[in-house]
Amino acid sequence: MTVPISPRHDETFVLNLGPQHPATHGVLRVKLTMDGEYIVKAEPVLGYIHRMHEKMAEAGTFAQFMPNTARMDYLHALAFNHGWALVVEKAAGIEVPPRAEYIRVITVELNRIHSHLLWWAANLLDLGAFTPLLYAFDDREQVIDLLERVTGSRLTYSYMRFGGVLNDIDEDFIAGTRAFLVRLRERMPVFYHDLVTSNIIFIKRVKDIGIITPEMCRRYGVTGPVARGSGINYDVRKDEPYSVYPHFDFDVPVFHECDSMARYMVRVQEMEQSMRIIEQALDALPDGPIMAKVPKMLKPEAGYYYSAVETARGLLGHRLVCNGDKNPYKLKLRSPTFSNLSLFGEVTQGMLLADALAFLGSLDLVIPEIDR
């Protein structure tokens, strides 16, 4: 049992976790003040992969920023594509043809499954189980192959265009996606639930670890699966519907335990919901163009624009300020894990090092997205 204790003496030491450490999955550094194996104080230190995307946005045109979006959250790059396309379409008043909207939803949801699979693998790796990583990578490979067919790239997609998408999907892609869904549904109970979800060591490692109360979520602006694991029923796809999400029948998994197990269950069930969305979208895929008629050079009206999308990690907001020029005057990216990580210090106080790392894994961090 983890019994939070207060330091009994001043024999604490500082442990620099990162920026190169196997459990931070990137270049996050956490400055830990430790009392033995207990954490007295934890301060995340950010910025090791900061690339000033916001300045790059101001320097180029709207379209030129599209490839940048994929380089922030490299695990759910299509959602970042989508978010940028949505805010510019909102500013420039572009209507997207229905077929393009459906293709967007299909690819974004496939990408979400990919992201959750990789999170699942990495989280288990944090807990010291190596084998699940390779099972998840097997499935993930299928998604990447599918997306490579339509987008042309495997990880850092630049697939969305203002007013549509780059390539149309073909029969092979549709058949391949359906086959993938069948395969994943078959593997899910055996490779995922029998091996891991019902494993006693796993349950003991994640149950009642890293409690985030709903009130804390609100104070720190936590969104996404982390908030939904704390009993907050908030999903941008449902609560502020964008694109064609209202056309689909899907549930938002919410768990009230507030611990790492709840966050795990939320993500695992979200994969199932994403599969449902993809199936419905494939069934109802309309015919038609995949691009709207859009002027070569976009010059949106001056004004303030905001759009939010649900990425695999939470709410991604784009705050766009235009002054009628061909460049964005200001773009602020509100990335979900930047806020999700900010409560790390408060939650890990008095925690064991091993538990804190298991908790860090359950937050599902992608460092380039935090640092932007």
């Binding site: 910025g47 602006g221 001056a302 004004g303």
Partner: protein, 171 residues
């Protein structure tokens, strides 16, 4: 009553001078390249066009009061963005507030300060989320958030002596 109506009526006592506009539509959200055009007040904006329901412009002194009202209404702080209006010699700070589920209501709170004296009060006492967002804005714009517990560089190196998102920043 729509949630944004409720929020607006909660906010309106803070702006007694009657600058709030009843108009719903584009001519108020048009904004403009000259940010000074709007006087403090609450304006209802068209959600489908701008992405937010309410556009609140306030003075830096009123910021704490506005945030306090929004906290009571159950909002959370989503992001803080700075904007450098070089020609007008002003810095703008945009706070985006949102609700975690339930009703839909996005509130954009804006305030302006002089570029020569960029000081605004901190919201960390009300929303802990503001901590990192304010540090980021300080990082990029040199905005000083008065009362912030640890206003240091967050994304840039500790020893950086520049604020890269200022429009007159030359690398």
């Amino acid at each position: 009553m729509e949630r944004y109506e409720k929020t607006r009526s909660a906010l309106s006592p803070l702006f007694p001078s009657g600058h709030e506009s009843e108009a719903v539509g584009t001519e108020e959200s048009e904004a403009d390249s000259s940010p000074q055009q709007r006087l403090p007040g609450v304006v209802v904006t068209e959600y489908s066009r701008t992405g937010s329901h309410l556009d609140v412009v306030c003075l830096p002194d009123q910021l704490m009061a506005v945030a306090g009202v929004l906290e009571d209404e159950g909002f959370f702080l989503e992001s803080i963005a700075g904007v450098d209006w070089l020609e007008q010699g002003q810095l703008e700070i945009i706070y985006d507030f949102n609700l975690l589920g339930g009703d839909q209501c996005r509130v954009m709170v804006r305030t302006f300060v002089d570029r020569s004296e960029p000081v605004v009060p901190t919201l960390t006492g009300i929303f802990p989320a503001a901590d990192w967002h304010e540090r980021e804005t300080f990082d990029f714009y040199g905005l000083h958030f008065q009362g912030h517990p640890d206003l240091t560089r967050i994304l840039l190196p500790e020893d950086a002596d520049y604020h890269p998102l200022l429009k007159d920043f030359m690398p």
